[in-house]
């Protein structure tokens, strides 16, 4: 056995330096957070305090919706300008140029503060910005990526169509080349946040003669172009976060193309992988929902002492812990430079299944006050989650599709005949 050489990876003194640097980073980040946002109230004191919303799809008044966006924007800007908005991003684009460890430290720290919800940016930053960064032409990257991370611009994902959901590659929105431009015609559907979006990540059929996966081209498309019509759809929750988007002879310069002509499927795959990987964070809100449930179980009169409920709570908390540990492992793989892979489909599946159970148990604990508004804090708000769960099992790839991916791409089972 040989001693580790000084100054090489594994050298303890190097680790210490790194730790020290991380600690001072954390101290500064704490100062920043302390200066701008309150700490989250401890669970015991939090019951009955503040906003009790349980779902980002909940029905909101126009004023509340405006407030949601403005608060998210305010926070994103502040965070970005202070250097915490895009910690791992390249410095030449305004990013922090730091490591995944810094990002994790900041994330853990921030979790203790009541920062505004930034879910309007989930797709924008989790899927659209990375795709533009990875596949976009330099001027398009400069135009969008920094502004998206600062929260000034919002992106949406224009994949699904009425006839192409699980089978995205079956899409039929057309992109026809005309000199230096493309002419887009067709329709997308269920596009989250399109009504707020400045830029869309579009998949369109550019070659009708090629096999379906080889005739798709990806684009970044400004949502303000003439010929784009965004029509909000009402969700079962009453919220209007998703939309139909129509394209009628929309002209788009070729410089907005992402990746090569007819090579859009590769872009799509990288986006879908990033989408799945969102599950390793708390994009689904499982952590919060479990915390609320625990809080509820400790309230007198809400059946936390019922043996059946206690068993179910234990199961939920075990599931949530397993998901968290799996996510840490995935984080490790990410740090080792491995891109998100098909195995991460398990996060989406596990998160939505866990949330389904959380919503069910909350319903059992509350009885009617989960489905009827008695005015009591933290009760009817669960109704939104109960209504949202079926959507979560569909958005970003259905449970069945996730299982297919796990079966075929991870376990190596043959395809269904």
């Amino acid at each position: 056995m040989t001693a580790t050489e000084v100054g090489t990876p594994g050298d303890p003194s190097l680790d210490l330096d790194l730790d020290r640097e991380l600690d001072s980073f954390e101290d500064q980040a704490r100062e920043f957070l302390e200066a701008h946002v309150p700490r989250t109230a401890p669970a015991t004191a939090a019951w009955g305090v503040g906003d009790d919303t349980m779902s980002s799809y909940a029905k909101r008044s126009p004023a509340a919706e405006h407030d949601r966006i403005e608060r998210a924007r305010w926070w994103k800007r502040l965070e970005f300008d202070a250097g915490y908005g895009w910690i791992t991003g390249p410095t030449e684009l305004g990013g922090g140029g730091r490591t995944a460890d810094h990002l994790r430290r900041y994330g853990e720290l921030r979790a203790a503060y009541a920062v505004p919800s930034t879910n309007v940016y989930t797709i924008s930053l989790g899927m659209v910005a990375p795709a533009i960064l990875q596949h976009g032409q330099p001027q398009i990257v400069r135009k969008y990526v920094t502004a998206m991370h600062r929260g000034d611009l919002i992106g949406c994902q224009l994949f699904s169509e009425p006839g192409a959901g699980s089978d995205v590659a079956g899409l039929s929105t057309r992109a026809v080349r005309d000199g230096d431009e493309w002419v887009i015609n067709g329709q997308k559907v269920w596009t989250s946040e399109a009504h707020h979006a400045d830029v869309g990540l579009l998949l369109a059929r550019s070659n009708v003669d090629a096999p379906k996966h080889q005739g798709i081209t990806a684009f970044a498309i400004p949502m303000s172009l003439t010929g784009i019509d965004v029509r909000p759809l009402t969700m079962m929750t009453g919220g209007t976060e998703f939309n139909e988007v129509f394209f009628d002879d929309v002209r788009l310069p070729d410089s907005y193309r992402l990746g090569a002509v007819d090579a859009g499927w590769g872009v799509a795959i990288s986006v879908l992988m990033n989408e799945r990987a969102l599950g390793t964070g708390d994009a689904f809100g499982l952590g919060r929902a479990v915390e609320r449930l625990r809080m509820m179980a400790s309230m007198p009169g809400l059946r936390g002492d019922d043996p059946v409920i206690r068993q179910q709570l234990a199961r939920i908390i075990t599931n949530a812990a397993c998901i968290r540990y799996q996510a840490l492992a995935a984080d490790g793989r990410r740090k080792a430079g491995l891109p998100p892979g098909p195995a991460e489909s398990v996060f989406k599946l596990a998160n939505t299944e866990a949330l389904r159970l959380v919503a069910q148990v909350a319903g059992e604990m509350l009885g009617p006050s989960a489905v009827a508004d008695t005015g009591e804090w933290g009760t009817y708000a669960w109704g939104d989650l109960i209504l949202t769960v079926p959507g979560m099992r569909v958005a970003g790839g259905t449970d069945e599709v996730m299982r297919n991916i796990l079966a075929e791409r991870v376990l190596g089972l043959p395809k269904e005949p």
Binding site: S160, A164, G165, S166, D167, G170, V189, W190, L233, T234, M235, M236, G238, F242, V308, G363, E364, G367, P368, A370, V371, A372, D373, T374, Y380, G383, I386, L387, P390, G391, R393, V394, A395, T398, D399, E400, R403, N404, E416
Partner: protein
């Protein structure tokens, strides 16, 4: 053992189904729900069919229908929505209580309204602090000679806000007696002075709407006391098996409708160049669901048969309510999955099914309370 319906029953079933197709298809039921609209014309049509009279004996001018026949109607109506079936069932169940326990004068007085479905009767048992434990109710009526004075609050009073509704309120008349022995039943018109009704916002069931009802020194004439003074707890319990059984049949009706809707969609919707129903991941759950629905329906029919045969069926009615309501929830859950994005948009009937199903395992006695009843029949008294 005999599983076939009689010719007459088959005819009734066909008629009821045709009625639903014509007068209240699911799309319409959904629209009523979304606009909080009670469809009075539909109501009149049900009366014309003689369905409100059906549960009462022929000797009284009723239709003399058996519990199974009533189940068949409820099942067919629920193909529109559970709420539509509930509006029907919720009217004659308290009507039967009046018929069975009212005195001669009361029966004559209420007869035309009951047989013709003129009354909307809202049952007021639950209170903010008395739900599953109904006998804990506190809303009080004091005897003032020729009338009672009612004070207190009721919760979840379904249909109480509709014009002309009669509230069948279970109230405490003897606060000193043990909790099961001091309860009486009063019929309280919802427009009496001192009655205040406040609609509770809910996820679904908007046809009838559910309400908080406040009684502030409401004078109720003595002739509106139904059954023995202080002795109404047994009235409250008496209709329960019948209610659970008929509602169980309704749950299978709406579960089947939900199944039929997802099945049709799964055959017509293609992804990856084949109908999605041909993926085993959907075909098997749908096969399981149809099996569950058939099993649930048999439980409902068995309980109905037992009531006809005069056999006690508290256990079997509880099993039927439990299984059938849970099956509706399971059907809606699978339906949402099969319809996927289309289901999640409010335009789809399936989104309405899911919204509506959530309350199925709560109202009419929660699943836990049914399980308690079944467990008790097995010699397992929980708490």
């Amino acid at each position: 053992m005999q599983f076939a319906l009689s010719e007459e029953q088959t005819l009734l079933q066909d008629t009821a189904r045709a009625f639903v197709d014509k007068h209240c298809p699911p799309e319409l039921a959904k629209e009523w729900d979304e606009t909080d609209h009670f469809p009075w014309p539909l109501w009149k049509r049900m009366a014309e069919m003689g369905w409100f009279a059906l549960p009462y004996p022929e000797t009284w001018g009723g239709g003399g229908g058996s519990p199974l026949e009533i189940c068949l109607i409820a099942e067919a109506l629920a193909r529109a929505s559970l709420d539509v079936a509930m509006a029907y069932v919720g009217t004659f169940i308290p009507g039967l209580t009046i018929h069975r326990y009212g005195n001669d004068e009361q029966r004559e007085r209420f007869k035309p309204g009951l047989l013709e479905g003129e009354y909307r009767i809202a049952v007021a048992i639950s209170e903010p602090d008395a739900g599953s434990d109904a006998a804990a109710l506190r809303c009080a009526a004091t005897d003032e000679g020729d009338h009672f004075v009612v004070n207190g609050q009721k919760a979840w009073c379904t249909g109480a806000g509709l014009p002309g509704a009669l509230i069948a309120a279970y109230v405490r008349t003897d606060p000193a007696a043990p909790k099961h022995r001091g309860i009486s039943l009063l019929l309280i018109p919802n427009d009496l002075e001192g009655v205040q009704i406040r609609r509770t916002p809910t996820l679904a069931r908007h046809l009838l709407g559910t309400n908080e009802v406040f009684f502030d020194n409401v004078s109720v004439p003595k002739e509106n006391l139904i059954g023995p003074i202080h002795g109404a707890f047994s009235l409250l319990m008496s209709g329960l098996d019948m209610e659970k059984t008929v509602m169980a049949a309704a749950y299978t009706g709406v579960a089947q409708s939900t199944m039929d809707e997802m099945l049709a969609y799964s055959k017509q919707r293609s992804q990856f160049d084949r109908p999605i129903g041909t993926f085993q991941a959907l075909a098997h759950p749908m096969a399981d669901l149809q099996t569950e629905i058939d099993a649930a329906r048999l439980l409902a029919y068995r309980a109905a048969w037992m009531i006809s045969a005069g056999q006690p069926c508290t256990r079997e009615a509880a099993m039927a309510k439990l299984k059938c309501s849970e099956t509706y929830v399971a059907a809606a859950r699978l339906g949402m999955q099969v319809l996927a994005g289309h289901g999640f948009a409010t335009e789809s009937v399936m989104s309405f099914r899911w919204r509506e199903s959530i309350v199925a395992t709560i109202s009419g006695g929660t699943s836990q309370i049914q399980r308690n009843a079944v467990a008790k029949s097995m010699g397992l008294t929980t708490y």
